[in-house]
């Protein structure tokens, strides 16, 4: 489906932009609910042990308090332990006295105002039978165990050829350990849920969610409800990056509080709590060995990963997955292992696996280039994979070579002097680094509905979520093109489980999955309109064959006689129905399995480093990406830039630190957990390399939400090495590591 539409591809303004810049886009916690009560979660002070006693008397006596729920008095939930999917999490829902991590929910206090609920929560007195917790996996690598599964990311371990033998006999080797810290998503909008019961068995949740259907399944299971009677609504999401992809404990706790108090209840997670029970990117320890011959051709690669998980759940950061496919090499072995700690369960965070994994792999490639005295870009071209090395399949499309070329040219890579510390500006050392970016083109089953009313306006819906990626906008563009309608006559809605089911907004798959569904629904509606018109004696198109028709400006028209047109609204009006509806469910494209589908990119970064003080500043970034069809040039560029800003934080700033004795997070706010600020981010030059991919899905889009962060943190680290001669393998590169 490579035909070019009028709107798809154009850099149109966000259709929800006006609402967002006027403050009138209501996020979950802002849903207007009269007389809503406020719930506040009390978190555990200790990280391991049991609750010896819990006293809520003072809280209950506090003015305005409606309930103080603890494991002593909370209703028993029939499905508290039920898992509704392979990556579902075990929740902490006041069902027992166990404390599994610091700041775990141990009580929920509900009051008539937020201030009263917050204060009463502080009056709950908890005594613990505490044990010494484990805060870090670093000293426990010997306990590493093989996880049950890598979820959707393939096998836990992989083996191709004989990597160890190849490495043993190789001329040039790099074998190093790379570590990345625990990180937290910290979307600007904290998690929030408003829960309203309609009677005993029907529940509506206004929930900050990247996956409303998953949230519905989870909450229905927990309360033993029919999922059809749980409705999750979320029209605007204030960022997610993975943490809002699962329904965490607070969602069910809000529903529990509403049930107990007989009130609509709002529960907003505090910023410190955002570090505790809504997931995080786990710490990783990655051993990478690269071996090459004298020409730089890779002969053997191993990538062994250990990441942290909680004491009660498994989540694996799939760091080595891209190592299986990024470069041509006959001998590759990868392994993923876990070590447990007394922490909340980690989760997907923007480009799980590829963000952490490319830091290690692409740093190692830079080290190999140094060892070979070879240009880092030349080394990557030397090992360019013409087909997917993992499965031997052809690529659905791959324009990485073009990304390297255009990126290097725009950046001026050829002017780089290879020697570290060879470039400077005053007291600042200048470094140039590069790396490869990659992320798989995912697609899941999705569905959408398109309706045409007598007003000639198309109403298109798909459950879905817009987490800031531009889903509202691109779906409107896709539907308008498929229907031959001007944009103002397409209304696209999402964010409600009463709409057709769609996958989670994660894995960069919404455009490909739900975009395909929207396109197919719009095409089906178009065809229904044509069928209705040609069967209608009153239509100027009566009796024509459907193949002789076109769809222009909201009307079915005869190709050979454009004056013969039947407007959509008129067709519906004469049909005697109030609207004509097409509901479509799309599986992944049939021939998709024959191909390996990935987005690729190349990052080129300039940093400056203060020679004495070690302060690193990213001065410029040029990044070229090839990600299939770009549906909206403007919002796509924003996605790429956003990913690169994440890479700046990833490389230089972000880390969640826990106290080694108490396992409490000490970087528990946005002053101590640094994310990039305006002043950290230079102008970013994004090149979008055009690709026409007929295989990947109906709309030819591979997904762009995550690739920006991949590779780039290694490019920054490589640039820091080039500037200073210091190789930092332990992120973030804070200045103390450069003194």
């Amino acid at each position: 489906m490579s035909e070019r539409g009028l709107f798809v591809g154009q850099g149109l303004d966000r259709v929800d932009g006006r609402l967002k810049v006027t403050g009138r886009a209501p996020y979950a916690a802002e849903t207007a609910v009269a007389n809503v009560a406020h719930a506040v979660i009390v978190g555990s002070a200790v990280a391991k042990g049991t609750i010896a006693s819990i006293d809520t008397r003072a809280a209950e006596r506090s003015p305005g308090v409606l309930a103080a729920l603890t494991h002593v008095n909370a209703p028993k939930l029939p499905g508290a332990e039920k898992k509704v999917g392979p990556v579902d999490r075990r929740l902490q829902l006041l069902q027992d006295d166990a404390v599994l991590y610091a700041d775990q929910p141990v009580a929920v206090v509900v009051a008539d105002t937020l201030e009263r609920a917050q204060h009463a929560a502080s009056l709950v007195v908890v005594r613990y039978a505490a044990q010494d917790p484990r805060a870090s996996i670093d000293d426990h690598q010997g306990e590493a165990f093989k996880p049950a599964s890598l979820g959707p990311r393939g096998e836990v371990d992989s083996n191709r050829g004989d990597a160890d033998t190849a490495i043993a006999g190789a001329k040039v080797k790099v074998a190093e350990t790379y570590t990345t810290p625990a990180q937290n998503h910290n979307p600007m909008e904290p998690h929030a849920t408003i829960a309203v019961w309609q009677g005993e068995s029907s529940l509506t949740l206004y929930d900050a969610s990247q996956g409303i259907f998953g949230a519905r399944r989870k909450v229905a299971a927990v309360f033993g409800l029919d999922p059809a009677r749980v409705r999750v609504i979320n029209h605007y999401v204030g960022g997610g990056f993975g943490c809002k992809g699962s329904a965490w404990s607070h969602v069910a706790l809000a529903a529990m509080a509403a049930r107990v108090t007989g009130r609509a209840v709002k529960l907003v997670v505090t910023r410190p709590q955002m570090f505790a029970f809504v997931g995080h990117r786990p710490r990783t320890v990655q051993n990478v060995t690269l071996a090459a011959d004298a020409t730089g051709t890779l002969v053997g690669v191993t990538h062994d990963v250990v990441s942290e998980t909680s004491s009660f759940d498994e989540f694996v950061e799939p760091c080595a997955v891209q190592t299986r496919m990024l470069y041509a090499c006959p001998n590759v072995r990868t392994r993923h292992r876990l070590v447990r700690a007394d922490i909340g369960t980690p989760t997907f965070q923007r480009a799980p696996g590829e963000s952490t994994g490319t830091f290690a792999l692409e740093s190692a490639m830079d080290e190999l280039a140094v060892a070979l005295a070879m240009d880092p870009l030349a080394l990557r071209l030397r090992n360019y994979a013409e087909t997917d090395p993992a499965e031997g399949k052809p690529w659905s499309s791959k324009s990485l070579r073009e990304c390297y070329r255009q990126g290097a040219e725009r950046f001026g890579w050829a002017r780089r002097t290879p020697k570290p510390r060879s470039m400077r500006r005053g007291r600042r050392l200048i470094g140039w680094g590069m790396a490869t970016a990659t992320y798989p083109a995912n697609q899941s089953k999705s569905s959408a509905v398109a309706r045409m009313g007598i007003d000639g306006v198309a109403r298109v819906q798909a459950g879905s979520q817009d987490i800031g990626t531009g889903t509202y906008t691109i779906m409107t563009q896709i539907a308008a093109d498929a229907l031959g309608l001007p944009l103002e006559r397409v209304r696209f809605d999402l964010g409600d489980t009463a709409m057709p089911e769609t996958p989670v907004s994660g894995g960069s798959q919404t455009a490909s999955s739900t975009g395909s569904a929207v396109k197919m629904a719009a095409l089906a509606l178009r065809d229904k309109l044509a069928t209705t018109a040609v069967a209608d004696k009153a239509s100027p198109l009566f009796g024509r064959s459907e193949g002789s028709l076109d769809f222009v400006d909201g009307a079915v028209v005869a190709k050979d006689d454009p004056k013969k047109a039947d407007p959509f609204g008129a067709i519906v009006s004469r049909s005697g129905q109030s609207e004509i509806v097409a509901l479509v469910e799309t599986p992944a494209k049939e021939d998709r399995k024959k191909y390996a589908a990935h987005s690729f990119g190349a990052d080129f970064v300039e940093v400056s480093v203060d020679e004495d003080l070690g302060e690193v500043r990213v001065m410029r970034v040029v990044a070229a990406f090839a990600a299939g069809r770009i549906l909206n040039a403007k919002t796509a560029r924003s996605q790429f830039i956003g990913g690169i800003v994440w890479a700046i934080g990833f490389a230089l700033e972000e880390q969640t630190l826990r106290d080694p004795r108490t396992a409490r997070v000490v970087t528990r706010d946005l002053a101590d957990y640094h994310v990039p600020v305006h002043a950290d981010v230079p102008a970013i030059d994004v090149i979008s390399v055009d690709e026409d991919d007929p295989h990947v899905n109906e709309i030819g889009a591979k997904g762009i939400g995550e690739i920006g962060i991949t590779g780039c943190s290694a490019a920054i680290a490589n640039a820091v090495f080039h500037a200073t001669g210091k190789r930092v393998r332990d992120l973030p590169i804070t200045l103390d590591k450069l003194l």
Partner: protein
């Protein structure tokens, strides 16, 4: 947040009369933050924003800054920018424009530490809860102090402004509920934690900061603030240096050295000053002074880097200042 009584004071007398058992609130940037965390729990607040203490008056003798003068207004005041550049630079390197629009001079003098253990009511902290122990010692102490520390507390004083003020020989003017006025030399205002980290300054209960005075000196106009931090803006200092030099005939006649991010109080370094006075400015002289400044530093494993970083920061600040002239 605990419930509290609120009083908007009409004038100083009114404020002082109401001060018993109460806490003054000015910009609120420290107080509201810590009250919401449950770290500070005043039973009553006396709002002093209506006291008419926001003026900044300059005359031949120096500058008199009202306690309610907002950080922004102080920073951009033409006399301060021209004659006390270290203060202007320090203020503008601190926090964010919004916080600088809110935060007041008196409030910033009383700014409390950003120690994560102090701010987390579930963690141990001698400052918040005397006798409870110090979580930072043996914990994560990357942001913590290496000068003026005790075995009870290593919390850093976080203010940028105060580091500049200690290098400007500023004077804190106060009035007690009795009506008595005091002038306190800035270097004497804050206290090292010692055995009592909960006592952070010499103010008596109810004593109200009314002004901060900047005397006219030979070194104030040639002064500079340099701040080193983990991101380019909106971050607390890992290390900062406030330096002021009076150079005459190629020789440093008088100087002030303040250090921030490394000490439990706004730190004036007498050893560094002693190492500079009488010498001709040079990197070697600066480095020797920096070594002297950090001679007594005591570090945790996490923050040991601050000792070397502080030396380099001080040298750089002095180099930049001498280059500028």
């Amino acid at each position: 947040m605990e419930p509290f009584r609120y009083l908007r004071a009409e004038d100083e007398r009114h404020a002082l009369a109401a001060s018993k058992g109460a806490t003054y609130i000015a910009g609120g940037t420290t107080l509201v933050d810590l009250m919401r965390l449950g770290v500070m729990r005043p039973r009553a607040l006396v709002d002093i924003s209506g006291l008419g203490l926001a003026a900044i008056d300059a005359d031949d003798g120096g500058v008199r800054i009202g306690a309610m003068a907002r950080n922004t207004d102080v920073a951009v005041h033409p006399v301060i920018a021209a004659s006390y550049p270290v203060l202007s630079e320090a203020l503008l390197s601190g926090a964010s424009p919004q916080l600088r629009n809110m935060a007041t001079t008196g409030g910033n003098v009383l700014q409390r530490t950003r120690c994560a253990y102090f701010r987390d009511p579930a963690a141990r902290c001698n400052k918040r809860d005397p006798g409870a122990g110090c979580g930072a010692i043996g914990g994560h102490a990357r942001m913590h102090a290496v000068l003026g520390v005790s075995d009870r507390c290593i919390a850093t004083h976080p203010s940028d402004m105060c580091v500049a003020l200690v290098a400007l020989d500023a004077v804190v003017r106060t009035r007690a509920p009795s009506g008595a006025e005091r002038a306190i030399a800035f270097a004497d205002f804050h206290l090292e934690p010692g055995a009592h980290p909960e006592v952070e300054n010499v103010l008596a209960p109810g004593e109200l900061i009314t002004h901060v005075e900047l005397p006219k000196t030979a070194f104030s106009a040639r002064s500079h603030y340099l701040k080193v931090r983990d991101r380019a803006s909106y971050a607390f200092a890992l290390v900062s240096a406030a330096v002021a030099l009076h150079v005459d005939g190629g020789v440093i006649r008088e100087c002030r050295v303040g250090l921030g991010g490394v000490a439990t109080k706004p730190w004036r370094s007498a050893p560094a000053e002693a190492g500079l006075v009488g010498k001709s400015p040079s990197v070697a002289v600066f480095r020797a002074a920096a070594e002297a400044a950090m001679k007594d530093a005591t570090a945790q494993p996490d923050n040991a880097f601050k000792i070397e970083l502080a030396k380099r920061t001080l040298v750089r600040a002095l180099v930049e200042l001498t280059e500028r002239a």
